[in-house]
């Protein structure tokens, strides 16, 4: 399929179907997807991106439904991207975050899109980040991104957000501990959802003491908000906290620094994936590649030894060759 300029034209006029189709092209990495990214590039950059992360079932989608309603009520065009895990065996997935979306579903200023992680080798975060950019170009002022807070992919997605909200719930002290690496550092706002449940106080104390370990920042204090998302309690506070963090980023200069880093990271990730693909493609044509692979399989050759041999091949035959 080749680049369709009229699709972009419809997209820029605000046509939902055109937006949906372009997201698919970019998500699937269909041939020529880069051209669409390129065409949308001048329109990217005005959305504010909020990541919502936390373990399965803490109430992220419920919270997002309420928070999106709050933004829509304030007149903001709002988008949601919900990333769900796919089965590593079949690549299939049941994406169920939409279940929590209530009456806002039909608001003309609202757009909700599910993304599966597709069990692919990397690339999830890269595709998700590009889908965020498409929604940005689609003139969404606020984009809420849901991910399950485990794994490097998810952390990468969160790093593409301006503000990251980490959601937890009472009685998950161990979870917080387990998430500590990575998640605690990237959280700008913490929410203890399901505050109607027992153990809220204890979770609050645990979270407070863990946040004390973070580097001191006298310009921004990481808030912890208690919420009952199912009945809408605490949502206005979360929105206010996002606004506050945004003001902090903008006045401190971090906003533009973060975005510059994000662009650089996207570039690096895209290059890495393409380089790996290209080298692998050429490597698979090496005359002894299959031979080496079968020797590794039957144990005659160690993976390390094999990698040294193939790196030599890359050096001599691929890199050297193209340098000339």
């Amino acid at each position: 399929m080749s680049f369709d300029a009229s699709l972009v034209g419809r997209f820029l006029k605000g046509d939902k179907r055109a937006c949906a189709r372009i997201i698919s092209i970019i998500e699937d990495r269909r041939r020529g997807y880069e051209e669409y990214m390129e065409a949308l590039q001048p329109h990217v950059g005005s959305a504010y991106i909020v990541g919502i992360t936390g373990p399965p079932g803490v109430g992220k989608s419920t919270l997002i439904n309420r928070l999106a309603a709050e933004y829509l009520h304030a007149g903001c065009s709002t988008g949601v991207i919900a990333v769900d895990p796919s089965s590593p065996f079949t690549g299939g997935a049941v994406l169920g975050d939409r279940i929590r979306i209530g009456e806002i579903a039909l608001d003309p200023k609202f757009y909700f899109r599910s993304l599966s992680s597709r069990g692919s080798l990397g690339g999830l975060s890269e595709a998700a980040v590009d889908v965020i950019r498409v929604m940005d170009a689609f003139k969404k002022e606020i984009i809420l991104v849901e991910t399950v807070g485990t794994g490097q992919n998810e952390v990468d997605v969160m790093r593409a957000c301006d503000t990251t909200v980490v959601v937890t719930m009472p009685g998950t002290g161990d979870d917080i501990q387990a998430q500590k690496a990575g998640i605690l550092e990237i959280g700008n706002i913490f929410v203890i959802n399901k505050a109607d449940r027992d153990g809220c106080e204890r979770t609050l104390r645990e979270l407070q003491s863990m946040l004390m370990m973070n580097p001191l920042n006298d310009k921004y204090e990481t808030p912890i908000i208690l919420a009952k998302s199912n009945i809408g309690e605490g949502i206005a506070e979360i929105k206010a906290a996002v606004d506050k963090h945004r003001i902090y980023l903008e006045t401190s200069g971090w906003f533009s620094v973060n975005r510059a880093e994000r662009n650089a990271r996207a570039f690096k990730n895209i290059m890495n994936l393409k380089i790996i693909d290209e080298i692998n493609r050429r490597l698979s044509r090496a005359e002894n590649y299959e031979e080496i692979e079968s020797q590794v399989k039957n144990g005659a050759l160690s993976p390390h030894r094999a990698s040294v041999q193939l790196m030599e091949y890359i050096e001599k035959k691929i890199l050297h060759h193209s340098a000339e």
Binding site: K16, R17, A20, R21, I23, S24, E27, D28, R29, R30, S86, S87, T90, G91, G92, A93, V94, L95, G96, R98, I99, A105, L106, Y111, F112, R113, S114, S116, R118, S120, G123, A127
Partner: protein, 134 residues
Amino acid sequence: MSEKIKVLIAKPGLDGHDRGAKVVARAFRDAGFEVIYTGLRQTPEQIVNAAIEEDVDAIGVSILSGAHNHCFSEIMNLLKHNSIDDIMVFGGGIIPEDDVAYLKSIGVAEVFGPGTPTDDTVKFVKANVRKGNE
């Protein structure tokens, strides 16, 4: 990355019969499809809106309440109204033979009743959606 078959499983109506929808959703997942499950009590407007936003290849409707003629025709009308002709609509549940003929006449691709092996529905989708044919 590859293109996956994407199906919206929708459950319109006010009743809570969601077992069939869940069974079918799981079977589709296991066949490697991406399934968007929207939960209970979806209006035809919500169903078509979700299908548009998610850019699905097919809408699978599960109805056991008896309101199938109404629900399906609303969905077909909304699709037509939005000039959408590349999303296949099919479904299942408790739907009498006579009504199946009517539903097919308004453009519903197929209807699967109780006891249908899920393999059959998977094969049907693979053979009939846009992507499967490419």
